[in-house]
């Protein structure tokens, strides 16, 4: 909308194979919620863009006056200045309109993205959502689908401006010549009908073209990855022949697609022409009666061209509504399953330069651990992507404050599953976890710092500074001590920017051991009551792991539950639990 020339919508409405329950989606209510997120920006956008679309009515009228005066040889200088002024006003409105709409646009996108990201990263609570696909797949939702829904709301503004312009133009025209004004409506209606008829065919042609295109590129992929087979068999020409068959299919589909697209897009400009022609026809009688003026003609021609755009805006409104329904459905999958309205919750988005950015939610209050009891815990690992269905059954575990518990067992015994179930990353199907005899319902919300920290087998670092990776937005009064504790202080000297060193995408600039120690520092930052540590052996060698355990035991009183199969850890443990096939080995 900010770019006037870019009005042609070539979106096809992506084919969606997933099962989406789009029946309950209310596109208008959702669109309104999106718009009203920044009421001031939105209202201004409406106001300015409506004015922007309506102003040509004024310049068209002045043009009529110009030609009327030219006809009678009067001076037009004043009128020319008026046209100039009108245009300058329109430029200013355009600039202001863009300014408001862009800020609204980015804020609306950020609102939805914030809600989804929050649902995906929040520690438990009713708003937690699950990731429907891979992170990379979800990026298209964060990017394209949010944009499609905002575009839907945005198209209301354009649509309203165009509609008001059309009403205004018809009203003014009918004061000049009722017949001419009526006749203008005819091509608009016809063209709208034709465009509506052609549009589904364009979509069909486009999807056929996409299919033909992917056949070409996938065949080329096959040919180039199997080039040797063709060459050793001397069948290069056969490959080229087959390619030609596929490219000639695409030749046809592509031409069809182009022609249909042109037919639909060209309709706007031809509507203008046909409208002018019809107007001339209707005006002929008034030439006889002497009512006709060149100014009237100039006005009709000036109004006819933007009027021709109207069918295109109507089509765009319809398309973006369909698109938005699908997108709302896809976005709804990223927030909590039963709370689709969370997507459009008017949250606190701080993206304007004057906003102060800060971490919103404080950590929960610390509840000193006396003893932790796990009773009859059963959890299944239900990940669609993994073929293995691991799990743990009927686990009893008692841990007292300050103790060191080691969980050990073979590959696939359920060690990691048990830890993840306790901290709430996997739902438990049976059993209970109590903290000082207090049963915990929402494990994910409870087992967070400062009560508990979890150090996974392969910890994830993020592309921010080393300090940010450790702090995760918390204040840094403990930073130096945890860096010492994990021996990171020694490594810092060799890094370019000390604690502000950027660790690279997913921490790849650090060595495996360094990354593991950064994650360890992260988990120790709040001196949690309970530290849950998965197997460290893949990242740390024996000496480093031993050193880490010794340091931890010596300097903190943190209770530790850790997975390890190394002698050095087992030797230091207060209790050792051995798992086999998801059960505790007695």
């Amino acid at each position: 909308m900010t770019d006037q020339t870019n009005t042609a919508q070539t979106n096809t409405g992506q084919t969606n194979t997933e099962q989406l329950n789009t029946g309950q989606i209310r596109p208008v209510a959702n669109g309104w919620r999106t718009g009203s997120f920044r009421p001031r920006l939105w209202t201004w956008s409406w106001f300015l863009w409506t004015a922007f679309f309506m102003l040509p009515l004024a310049s068209g009228w002045i043009l009529k006056l110009v030609f009327d005066r030219l006809e009678t040889n009067e001076s037009v200088n004043g009128l020319l200045v008026a046209i100039g002024v009108t245009e300058v006003v329109r430029w200013i409105i355009f600039g202001a309109g863009v300014y408001f709409v862009v800020r609204w646009w980015v804020a609306a996108l950020s609102m939805m993205r914030t809600n989804m990201l929050f649902a995906q990263t929040v520690s438990g609570g009713p708003k937690a959502g699950k990731l429907p696909g891979s992170p990379a797949e979800s990026i298209t939702r964060f990017n394209d689908d949010t944009r499609d829904t905002v575009l839907w709301t945005d198209s209301w503004v354009d649509g309203a401006g165009n509609l008001l312009y059309a009403f205004g133009a018809l009203a003014i025209m009918s004061t000049i010549n009722r017949g001419a004004a009526l006749v203008v409506i005819v091509p608009l209606v016809v063209v709208t009908i034709i465009a509506r008829k052609l549009t589904p065919r364009l979509y069909a042609a486009r999807s056929a073209d996409r299919k033909a295109g992917s056949q070409v590129s996938s065949f080329l992929g096959e040919v180039f990855s199997g080039q040797l087979a063709f060459r050793l068999a001397g069948r290069e020409e056969a490959a080229v022949k087959r390619l030609e068959r596929y490219t000639s299919v695409r030749h046809k589909t592509a031409v069809r697609d182009t022609v249909l697209q042109q037919a639909i897009e060209g309709i706007a400009s031809s509507t203008g022409d046909i409208t002018i022609g019809l107007t001339l026809l209707v005006l002929v009688p008034s030439v006889r009666s002497g009512e006709f003026s060149v100014g009237d003609l100039a006005l009709f021609v000036a109004y006819a061209v933007p009027l021709g755009e109207l069918p295109r805006y109507v089509a765009r409104l319809i398309t973006s509504r369909e698109q938005a329904i699908v997108s709302y459905g896809r976005l709804g999958q990223l927030v909590a399953p039963d709370r689709p309205d969370d997507l459009l919750e008017h949250n606190e988005v701080t993206i304007e330069p004057n906003d102060t950015m800060r971490r919103r939610d404080p950590d929960p209050d610390r509840v000193p651990l006396v003893h932790l009891n796990v009773r009859g815990l059963t959890a299944r690992y239900t990940d669609a992507a993994s073929v293995q269905t691991g799990g743990v059954s009927d686990i009893d575990l008692d841990v007292t404050a300050g103790s060191f518990t080691i969980i050990t067992g073979g590959v696939g015994a359920g060690k990691t599953t048990l830890l993840r179930a306790i901290v709430g990353l996997i739902p438990i199907s049976e059993g209970s976890v109590t903290w000082n005899d207090e049963p915990i319902d929402d494990l994910a919300a409870w087992f967070v710092p400062p009560n508990c920290a979890h150090l996974p087998q392969i910890p994830r670092l993020f592309s921010e500074s080393l300090a940010d990776n450790v702090l995760l937005g918390r204040d840094d009064h403990n930073l130096a001590s945890v860096l010492d504790l994990t021996s990171l202080s020694y490594d810092l000297g060799a890094m370019p920017d000390d604690i502000d060193t950027m660790v690279g995408a997913r921490g790849l600039r650090l060595s495996g051991g360094q990354a593991q120690r950064v994650a360890t520092a992260r988990s120790l930052l709040t001196t949690p009551e309970l530290l849950i540590v998965d197997d460290l052996s893949s990242a740390l060698d024996v000496a480093t792991e031993r050193e880490l355990w010794l340091q931890l035991r010596k300097t903190t009183s943190t209770t530790i539950i850790a997975v390890s199969h190394r002698r050095l850890a087992i030797d230091q443990a207060d209790q050792v639990i051995t798992l086999e096939a998801g059960r505790i080995l007695q």
Binding site: T2, D3, Q4, T5, V66, L70, E71, L80, W91, F94, G95, V102, W105, L117, T121, S123, A128, L131, F142, S217, L220, Q227, L228, A229, L232, R235, E236, A238, A239, R242, E244, T247, A254, T258, G266, S269, S270, G272, D273, I274, G277, L280, L283, V287, V294, A298, T350, E352, G424, L425, V448, H454, P456, R460, L461, F462, E464, G473, R506, S523
Partner: protein
């Protein structure tokens, strides 16, 4: 085993050759190359030129008609005459739309025709490039160059070039019409339109930087989201969700800043382009007023002149929007020319025909060493042997013993450092590569299967081989029941990379492939992986049938296979440590082969050789 360093001479056709030369002589002149691609299609180019000429002229007619309407009405023309003019105008509107469709049609048709030829040429060219090239270039990259880059070119022709030509025709025609009415105004208009055109076309380039910055900011923000989602569990269990949200909003703020910067630029450009036409319109209206008051033009002409300052606004605006396409097409064309300039590194000067029928093979004092590696090692050391036409040789040896290199030498994948290899008495150097390729066949261990039907996999997409030939071949090899048992028989589609078939079954496909070509010399590299007994039996039978009456070299991994061959060669460090007739070697209890046999015919050779050492 990969058949590396395969080289073959490229056989580019004339079009490719001239394009490639183009790129070597004047690498910057992509447009000349594009022109060369289009010129062979003279008839189509003529047709499209005619369509473009009409499409370019039509926009000029409308204002002329209105001018005439105004003047004739003022001069008291009849209603019939005016209705006639109005009728023409309506017809004009319809024909403009039809012409726009005709332009789209002819331009798209030409562009896909031309670029499809280019795609075929490029594919052919790439298939003839040596393996050094293929190892350095991923299939995905090749697809993007053969299809993506060329598609950019196609879009350029159909979306940009055609419209630009039509707009050019309109521009020239417009100046001509006005010149005809009044040459002074015509001249003034020409100068003005030149400035307007130049301004419009230069505007978009400047918006590119801001757009790139915005894209980068958006990319960073999305990258960050992806990272947070991938590490969601770590964030959850460490209470890091709010932190993720806070940093996301920081990234969003950067997006907002860059969007505003881009839009500021966009607004400025829009205002400039708008101003150009507004000023033009206002100036011409003032001129109109002056000329009208002196009575030197009619009111109709005054209106015409005003309309003519405005009609280029839309086409120029659209062209300016698509200058990005020009850059993409130029990039695509230059990469295409680069690809065409790649040459294969092997000579292909032989022309002696091979004798018909099974080909005897002779190696005399053949040595091979890799020169360009750090430690030049003699991989094949003084190998001399001969295989009579129709006879078979089994090759045994550990990994690194020179088996693979021997195979490569026989296929002329690599050239011997010294010594000669001849087929049917003709030295490999004197045989044309294509001729050699048509007479020899290979089954390698890693059979490449395509995501296509069994039929296409067997014929390698050669449409001259019909279903009955395929059926006959399968029948001959005793595989008809195997294929018939598949869901859709020979039309069963294989998954990506031949998913759905085991290694043994892949070999069956490759054996049938070979059988369909009926080569006179076959080289088999037996699958080393374990194969289920049913498939094993089928492979054995098919191999027996295939090598019957053909000269064959089998790199064997099973002693059961070797037993049925005429001769045996045992390689060690590139030297023949044992070579002789199979029967003689198995009878001699001191031979390595006999001692291998004693370990059990069932055992895989690699294991056996290791055990034997």
């Amino acid at each position: 085993m990969g058949w590396d360093q395969y080289c073959s001479a490229s056989a580019p056709n004339d079009r490719v050759r001239s394009l490639a030369m183009e790129s070597r002589s004047r690498s910057s002149n992509h447009w000349r190359a594009l022109f060369d691609l289009i010129t062979p299609h003279r008839a189509r180019v003529t047709a499209i030129s005619a369509v473009l000429a009409v499409a370019g002229i039509l926009p000029l007619v409308g204002p002329l008609l209105i001018a005439k309407f105004i003047d004739d009405a003022a001069n008291g023309a009849t209603s019939a005459h005016l209705l006639w003019l109005a009728g023409i105008y309506v017809a004009l509107g319809v024909s403009r739309q039809l012409m726009a469709v005709a332009v789209a049609w002819t331009a798209a048709d030409l562009s896909w025709r031309v670029t499809n030829e280019l795609r075929s040429d490029l594919t052919r060219h790439v298939l003839h490039l040596d393996l050094g090239f293929h190892r350095a270039t991923s299939p995905g990259e090749l697809v993007s160059r053969v299809d993506g880059d060329v598609t950019a070119l196609s879009e350029f022709i159909s979306q940009f070039a055609a419209k630009a030509v039509a707009a050019g025709v309109t521009l020239v025609g417009l100046i001509a019409v006005v010149m005809w009415r009044d040459w002074r105004i015509g001249l003034g208009l020409a100068v003005y339109l030149a400035i307007a055109t130049a301004t419009m076309l230069s505007l978009r380039d400047r918006a590119v930087d801001e757009a790139a910055t915005e894209q980068a900011a958006t990319g960073r923000m999305l990258g960050e989201i992806e990272e947070r989602l991938a590490g969601a569990d770590d964030l959850r269990s460490n209470g890091g969700g709010s932190h993720a949200v806070a940093t996301f909003q920081k990234a969003s703020a950067a997006v907002l800043r860059s969007s505003l910067a881009r839009e500021r630029q966009g607004v400025a450009l829009w205002i400039i382009s708008n101003a150009v036409f507004i000023i033009g319109g206002l100036v011409i209206l003032a001129v109109d007023a002056a000329l009208l008051s002196r009575g030197s033009i009619t009111l109709g002409t005054a209106y015409l002149l005003f309309q003519y300052t405005q009609i280029l606004r839309e086409p120029l605006g659209r062209l300016a929007d698509e200058t990005e396409r020009v850059q993409r097409a130029a990039g695509g064309m230059s990469r295409t020319l680069q690809l065409l300039a790649e040459t294969s590194s092997i000579s292909n000067e032989g022309s002696t025909p091979l004798p018909t029928g099974a080909l005897g093979v002779e190696l005399s004092d053949v040595c091979f060493e890799y020169r360009d590696e750090e430690n030049p090692a003699r991989v094949v050391d003084n190998l001399t042997l001969s295989i009579a036409p129709g006879n078979s040789l089994g090759v045994l040896g550990r990994t690194g013993s020179g088996k693979t290199t021997l195979a490569r030498l026989l296929l002329r994948l690599v050239e011997p450092t010294s010594g000669t290899i001849s087929f049917g008495g003709v030295s490999l150097h004197d045989v044309e590569v294509a001729e050699l390729r048509s007479r020899i066949g290979v089954v390698s261990q890693d059979v490449h299967l395509f995501e296509a039907s069994i039929h296409d996999n067997l014929t390698l997409f050669d449409e001259t081989i019909d279903a009955s030939a395929v059926r006959a071949a399968l029948n001959e090899l005793g595989l008809l029941d195997w294929v018939s048992a598949m869901p859709q028989g020979v039309e069963t589609k294989l998954g990506p990379g031949g998913a759905g078939l085991s290694a043994g079954e892949s070999q069956l496909i490759a054996l049938t492939r070979l059988f369909l070509r009926s080569p006179d010399f076959v080289l088999l590299d037996e699958a080393s992986s374990r194969v289920d007994p049913t498939t094993e039996a089928r492979v054995t039978k098919a191999i027996d049938r295939l090598i019957d009456g053909r000269t064959a070299v089998v790199i064997a991994h099973r002693l059961s296979t070797v037993e049925r061959l005429d001769q045996i060669l045992v390689l060690e460090d590139g030297r023949a440590v044992e070579h002789g007739a199979t029967e003689a070697l198995s009878a001699d209890t001191n031979s390595r082969y006999a001692r291998l046999l004693a370990l059990g015919a069932d055992i895989a050779v690699d294991e056996a050789v290791v055990a034997y050492d």
